[in-house]
Structures are given as C-alpha cells and as structure tokens.
Symmetry: C2
Subunit: 474 residues, 2 copies
C-alpha cells in the first residue's frame, strides 16, 4: 500500500531497525551505572550523541535527547524563555509553527507572558523583515521552523536570524533534519527522529553553548539537565544511525522525490477541476505537496483514497478531533476544505505516483458527482482575501442559511446558488462552522468573486452564527 | 555476567522483544491518522491500554502512556497539584520517594507551593498514622511509593489512603508493578515499563475518573491531554505484552527470588564482617536486598564486583555525580558507605547467587586489608542515632581531622583511633564530607558507641566543616 504520509511519520529506515535490534542487546542497561552493561550503554549513548551533533552542526555537549519532537519544543521554548526572563517575557513565532509551539505560546501567555504570531504570505512563508519588525524590547525568544510541516514551504531562517539582534532563535527543524542542511543562525534547535526514518520516542534538543536555559520541568542528572527520565538508549542509537544513513542518501533521494512531487503539483490541477495547490512553488521541501479540492469533505477524500490503497493526510477541519481547520492553511488564507497532504517517504516510485494520479481524479469525482455543480472555474484569479468594506445591513440579494451544517456544505450551497444572483449582487452565507471563515474568502479568490466581509447572522435573519458576504463577480 | 541491578532496569523480557519487533512492522504509523496504517497503530495502542489498565486495576480511559516513569511522576504530581489548587498548594510525600518526586517537590516549593517530607523509620517505612498526621488543611496531594527502590521496603499504602480524608493520593508503583498487586486507594498511579522487563521509553500515568487534573505542560490531543507528543506505539505494545507475561509468572518467580534474597540477607552478615543489612526484614520486595559495608568505598566495591563479573548498584555518595549519599539511606539513618543494592532479575539462578556470595567476601576483604582495622564489632547494638545532648566546648579526648577527605575516610580514621580513648571519653571527628553526617551516627549504632551530636569544627581547632562527636562505649 503506497504510504504518502511521511510528514506524519516516516517508515522505519532499515538501518534504524538494524541498529535498534543491536542496541537492544548491547545498550539496554542504565548508562548512569558503573557496571559493564551500564558503561556499554553509556558508550553507545555518547557515540549517538556525537553522530547527531555532527549531522546537525552542533557540539556533542549541546545535544540532549528528548522523548519526542514535541517534548523538545516544549522544553526548548519554556527552558529558553525561563533562561531569558531578564530580557522580558515576550515570545515571537510565526503563525504556521507546529501546534506544540502554538500550545506552548498559549500556555505561556495564560501564565503571564505574552506571545506574537507573525503572519505569513499566501504561500505560508514569513518575511524576515516582517518577523524582525515584530521584535519588542522585551522579546525573550523567537521561534521559526525550517520548513512548514503541512505545505512544505521553507522559511527564511538564516536571513531572519541575522535581523534578531541578539534575541535567541529556536529553529524547529523537524521536517527538514536529515533531508536538508540545518539553516545557520540557531540558538536552539529541535528535531524528531521518526520524521527522518528513526524510531518513535526520540527527539533532539540542541542548545548552543552560552545560551541561557532553565529547565521548565524538575531536572535530574540526565541529558545535561534538559530531558529528565531514563534515556531510551536503543532508540537513540537507532535514531543516530538512521540520521547518518538518510543524510548520505539525501541528495540523490531529494532530487528523485522532487521530480515526483513536481509531477503531482503539475498534473493534479490538470486532472482534477477546482483544485488549489498550496505552499511555495519553489522554496519548498522536496518530498511534500499539499492541495485543496473545492466542495469535498477532507475525511471523505482520505477514506476514498484509503479504500483505493493510498495513505495521506489532511488539514481539513472535518479530519481533526477539534473540528477546526489547520491553523497553517487558515494563516495562509487558502482553502481548507478537501485538503490533502501528500508526503513521499524515501523510496517512493514513479509507478506509485502514477497510480495515485490515476486514482485521485476518480475519487474526487465520485464525491462531487452527486452535487451537480459547475466545476469550471474562471481560473485561480488574484487572491482576494481582503474585505471590500463593511456590508450595509440587509442589502443581500440572496441569503443562504447553512447554520448547523459543517464544512464543506456552506461552500457547496454557495456554489450551487451563486448563479441566481446578478453580477455585483450580494450573497450572505450564514454559518456557524469555523471553517467557513477561511474557506469562503478562499473560494472567492479561486472563483473570482469578491469577499466582502462578515456580519452577525442576525442581521440577515439568522439566530446565531456569522453572515459571510460575497459580491458576485461582474 | 550475572546482572543484579534489576531495580535500575530489568533486562528486556523475551515477550517484550517479540512484541516490539511485531509492532515495529504493524504499529509504526501515527495512530491519530485516518488511513489503514494509522488505524492499525490505533488498534494496537488501544489494546495495549486495555491490557495495562486491566493489570493495574484501572479503566482504559484512566491510563495514559508517558515516555518514562520520571515523566509520569512529573506530570502526575504537577497535574494533580494544579488540578487541586483550590484545596491549597501543599504537597505531602515520604522522605524516601524517588528523586523525581523530590525534585518536583523542590520545584513546587521554589515556585510558591510548599512540601513536607514525612520521615521513615530505620527500615525505611512510613507510619500511616504519622503520614496522615502531617496532612494540612491546604494539602492538595499526597505521594507514597508502593515499595522503596533502594531498600525494597513496602509502604503501608492502603492503610495510609484510608486516613487521607479525601486528599488525592499518587502511588508510585514503579518497583512493584508487574510483581505485586497494586495497593488499593490510589487516585493517581505511576509506573515504568523498563522496571518490569518492558522496553525503555514507556511510563504509565493512571488518573482515576473524577480526579481533577490540569496538565503542567502544554497539552495536545494525545493520551487524553496528559502526555503530549507522538506516542511510541511499538514500545507501548511491548510494555503491555511484557506486563501481562511477568504478571503470569510473578507468583512463582517471586517465591524463587525471595528464597535467593533470603539467602543473601542471611549469609552476607555471616560472610562479611561489619555489614549492616538495611530495609524491612519482612515487608519488602521479593527480589531486592541492600546492605552497607563499613570502611569501604562504594565505588571501589562496585568496581571490584564488576571485575569479578557481577553488576550491582550503590547508594553511596562516592558513586553519585552529586557526591551526596542516597537520600533514602540518609532518611533511614543507616550507614551510607560501602552500600550495595542487589536486585535480582527474573531467571536469576541459585548458582549465580552462590557465586556472588563467594566473590563478595573476597572483594570486601581486599578493600579492607590495607586499613589494618579490627573488624570484630560488638554486634549490631540498638540503633543510637540520637544525640545525647550538646557537647561541651573543647572537652574532646581526641580530635581526628579528616577535613578535605571523602567517604569512607572519616569512618576509617575514627575506627582506627577510637581505641586510643578511654570508655566514656569524647572523640571529635572533623569532616566537610556530607556523608559523614549520616555515616558517623550509623557507625556508632553499629559499634555500640554513643553519637553525641555535632558542633562547628572551629570549636575543635578546625577551620571549617563540622565536628561529629562520639562518646566511646563503656
């Protein structure tokens, strides 16, 4: 079964498996103990630390192993924030960081700190200048990912680092470590082994010599006081061995996967009507492509692909347990419905991608067929996510009540009925689904209509929820 | 090589290894994903949760998997304390809990809370009544281990739980889970898979339905919001499988190991002069025995045993990176020098224990031979750890200056020269080694002398440090 969800977790690299088995025999004991088994575990742990440090451009004594990338982010952010309290308590991060960063920022703000999310452009990329302009005198830490985990866009890390004037920068390299060189300029660096083909249970937190750090959790003597608890030596050994292996293969594999991803990027809009490919067209990860399909429920799409034998993932709200759409897609102002992330693991073949390109149009068409919609779009017009000004009272030519209905129903209803309204007329879509806030403007951008803003649904006869206002294209 | 350090980490159970290998193939994907590989991982994770819950007497939805026993303790303590803030901010725990508990208590107190350590008796056991008497109106959480990790003493958990009157009790079952039934009365329960023969990287945190809990770390959707980060499904599967396996073998194996431990408990004092076996003689773990050897450096002892092919561990200060003796031995008021913990893994044979009993006296004798001490003690007299009252000024008949010298030198010097002083005379030992504070009173108890208290070394001609005062036995 072709597995196109490497960005969630990569299949275990054969080298990782081999190293894990060997280290279960040789490195199972407590590396803090003085006996032979303990010393042996210690030697393996030290060697793994050297390997990972070398691969990431760090010193061995800068590297701590955590139990996940999430733990590395939590500990790294909170430890650096606590260590730099004298600077202040402001945290600066991009709007498209991993949810572990956003959760930490929320917690930090709730506990009395403050946090600013720097917006991204429609490709999901921050501007280094805009990022730096958001610095405050009390900024204690800046956080920027090397590449986005949902759309693959590379961030201008080195460029941004140069503008930070002494504020430490934590770089989340989870999606790029092992694939691409680590960008220059980090003060703290995090990564996650299972993203590069290592086993689950191993994260990396590197802290540059001299960067202040004060552990947020009660510390013990393990991992330089930065990651408490019994270390998982066999998994760490496997993580290091596979990092070395994937780095050695990276250049050739990146070139191969980039070609396959280019194929998907170019063929999908030709094969599937009403699709928006998102993420930066050039500055992106080699193995990952994301697109959204109008009028399609993300979960239905995943299920259809799964039945056809393809594993992928989605940032659509209907696929998340919180029923909110991906914060990355929302921050980009792109469509969140019918979203599909295709991330190719090492070894993906052209035949697998060809098979996917054959199956996808059929799956999407099957979902859309019952809707009876005209799918011919006037081409992806210029993005128009900005409101044209507040809409006047009840001037709508058409009110579409989708209250209580979930993504993608509001968009489907809008698409079905927008033809009833004359060019320049106003359509009000009443919705209480959070996804509509992102998807209706995105749909307008795709179809050439003008998104005109929002108002309380009550102004258009709805009891609760929001009225999203669309001016029909002329 | 006989491995007698199961309390640090047990060798991987064959069932764990087998389950881990299978789950690397079947459960490597992200259990939060909707595709087939994800659903498969999810099913394995759910089944493992059922197994562990059943083994621990919990409901599946009460069990979260953490990345270590330490993480389970940190998260469990802080989550319960935060969840019960309305009660107050006082934490009650025994003085002999795992260092992860003590570290958390220190952090909690530094952050504005308060913590009380309930003392233990000379066997390392708390009294349920004394524990309950330390409750305060603002006590938010009580913590008590099922059994001590250094000396094996069982704690009166169920008895204590009944006296807590609604204050939630966190039970650290790391040393007993899989071996002994979980004691009744817990509100939160923690354990660590690598202690029962599971792999590293898996801790258990169970929280009884209805017990308030507010995660101290930024939470995500994983593990009921109690253990953020990508779950290590293969290791969790292996942990559950091995827990089931060791439970099935526990009764027979406990009986077998208890006999071997009894052998060590009885033979060591016969074979090695000047030894104190510590921990409760009856209420104890079946597989663990701890003793201390007078006049011996713990690290030298471990090294000698390691050379002879035996792996064990020690709570002596010279074996810890902080150079402080085990807080457990210190709280018990027993000798910390020359300390050896022998913890037998499943499958230990009589022949291995016999070999150990042959090697140990030789190793100890080799260390002691150059000292030229009389090792015939007047039998372990009644413990006399209490001071007989403040000592008067410079009334010492003998001052022994060991300033700048580390454990076990102060005791060796004392033992060598105590014969110079007439019965009833006062000896002052000057020392700046933290271990002396515990070991000199313990030595007095073992040799029948009276420990008479401490005074500034300056009163006895020393520049800094402490004078430990001993009244020679009559």
């Amino acid at each position: 079964m072709p597995y196109f969800d490497a960005a969630s977790t990569a299949p275990l690299h054969p080298v990782a498996r081999q190293a894990l088995l060997a280290a279960l025999d040789e490195g199972w004991a407590d590396p803090a103990r003085l006996h032979r088994s303990g010393r042996q575990a210690r030697m393996l742990l030290d060697a793994a630390r050297e390997t990972v440090a070398e691969a990431l451009g760090a010193r061995a004594d800068e590297v701590s192993f955590t139990s996940s990338g999430t733990q590395a982010l939590h500990s790294g952010l909170l430890g650096a924030l606590r260590g730099h309290r004298r600077r202040g308590s402001h945290l600066l991060h991009s709007a498209v960081e991993h949810s572990a960063v956003l959760h930490t920022a929320e917690r930090w703000a709730a506990d009395g700190g403050s946090a600013t999310a720097v917006p991204v452009d429609r490709h999901g990329r921050v501007s280094a200048a805009e990022f730096a302009a958001a610095l405050r005198p009390d900024t204690a830490l800046a956080v920027l990912q090397s590449a986005n985990h949902e759309v693959g866009t590379l961030q201008p890390v080195a460029e941004t680092a140069e503008l930070l004037g002494g504020v430490p920068l934590l770089v989340d390299a989870a999606q790029s470590a092992g694939r691409l060189p680590v960008p220059a300029g980090w003060s703290l660096l995090t990564a996650s082994a299972h993203k590069w083909g290592g086993p689950a249970g191993v994260g990396v937190l590197a802290v540059r010599k001299g960067v202040r750090f004060s552990s947020a959790l009660p510390a013990d003597e393990r991992e330089g006081g930065r990651a408490p608890g019994f270390p998982n030596v066999p998994a760490i050994v496997a993580a290091a061995a596979s990092l070395r292996a994937v780095r050695a293969e990276a250049e050739a594999e990146n070139a191969r996967l980039r070609e396959l991803v280019d194929l998907v990027r170019h063929r999908v809009p030709e094969l599937v009507p009403a699709v928006e490919v998102v993420g930066h067209p050039e500055l992106r990860l080699p193995h990952l492509v994301t697109f959204s399909c109008l009028y399609v429920d993300g979960e239905v799409l995943l299920t259809g692909l799964d039945r056809a034998g393809f594993a992928a993932s989605s940032g659509s709200s209907c696929t998340s347990s919180t029923l909110t759409p991906s914060h990355v897609l929302a921050a980009m102002g792109v469509l969140t419905e019918g979203n599909l992330r295709v991330s190719l693991p090492a070894g993906t073949t052209r035949a697998e991608v060809d098979a996917f390109l054959e199956v996808l149009p059929r799956v999407v068409a099957e979902v859309r067929a019952p809707l009876g919609l005209d799918l011919a779009l006037p081409g992806s017009g210029p993005a128009d996510g900005s409101a044209d000004g507040p809409a006047g009272g009840s001037a709508a030519a058409l009110v579409i009540d989708t209250l209580g209905k979930r993504c993608p129903v509001p968009i489907i209803e809008l698409a079905k009925r927008v033809g009833e309204v004359a060019p320049g007329g106003l359509v009000a879509v009443l919705s209480d689904d959070e996804a509509a806030r992102h998807d209706i403007p995105a749909w307008c951008g795709m179809c050439g209509h003008s998104y005109t803003g929002e108002a309380p649904a009550a102004e258009y006869g709805g009891g609760h929820g929001t009225a999203y206002l669309v001016t029909v294209r002329g």
